[in-house]
Symmetry: C3
Subunit: 136 residues, 3 copies
């Protein structure tokens, strides 16, 4: 059985943001077991799972990703949408544009420290669309 | 319900290539909703989703990935298959070897700017096999 | 149809480890076709697919990931769990915390050279939990 829900996130500033609560609040009643596929329909943002407690982890993510994929004009041909655009595309493919999470006992079966991160790689990324598909 | 299709891509040169049309042309009629899992059976190539319009984005991807994982002999022990081999393995795990896309209204529910990239990390990677599984 | 199995791995040392045999030994009889989603419930380890033959590939993975995300105190705010902790979180999101593999003819349909890697990014990561979900 398949259920599907599309949501539009409010605009987030550039950075890594914990959105587990938004995901959970927008899912329908979950089946006893299965998987949920959470997919962002964009190429300059991403989704990943990581530490859900200490906010400095998200700050460090932003620092490290900026160091891995620096924003200097000399590095890129594709610059007409701004210097943050091409690095955003690369970062999006490094973290990926979807996460899949097991469902067990009618709940997302995340580990104790796992949360869903929205990775907003643009300075002004606008509202992002997410398609969630539950398979059971 | 599960359907599965295996395809063999023609040989592509090293680089990032938009293959959305090949994927779509080889999928059977899609269900109303579900997911499709697209899996490349190789460890020196990858699949990712990214910008489907401006070809300079794919050129910049090649430049950035070569900078992230440089091809110098002194960096690696595993070199007997050529200097492009070990970097290809690393890059393959950075982008990943599969993408999962939601199906909605009998179509791949990609965002406006999302396309499927074949990431060919070898100089002469040969023909690559892809297994597509539709779950609905 | 959905089946689900949770396993606890023995503690592995820091590094990349081939665990295909552990995965296969713990899966139930597989359906004719489908997918299996393999999910690690942690944020300082990861799962990826890569070369299953030459152990120097896994050694080179460890070297390259340490170079990509260096362990120096000046790079991070989040350091109170040790200098290996924050790099482990980043690496975990670079490789990802799950892999999905097609099932064909009642077997994991991996390519000839593909194996499942446990990526243990902590010096002392402890026992890691993995949730495997079979969808058919």
């Amino acid at each position: 059985m398949v259920e599907q829900v599309t949501i539009v996130l409010p605009q987030f500033p550039r950075g890594f943001h914990l959105i587990t609560h938004i995901i959970e609040d927008n899912l329908p009643a979950l089946p006893e077991k299965g998987i949920v596929h959470i997919f962002i329909q964009h190429t300059s943002a991403g989704l990943t799972l990581n530490e859900n407690a200490d906010p400095t982890v998200r700050t460090d993510f932003e620092t490290v990703f900026n160091r891995l994929v620096p924003e200097s004009a000399s590095n890129y041909i594709h610059t007409f949408e701004g210097l943050d655009d091409m690095p955003a595309h690369i970062k999006s493919s490094l973290v990926g544009q979807s996460v899949t999470i097991p469902i067990s006992n009618h709940r997302l079966n995340l580990g104790t420290w796992q949360g869903v991160y929205l990775c907003e790689f643009r300075n002004y990324g606008g509202k992002r669309r997410i398609v969630m598909t539950i398979v059971s």
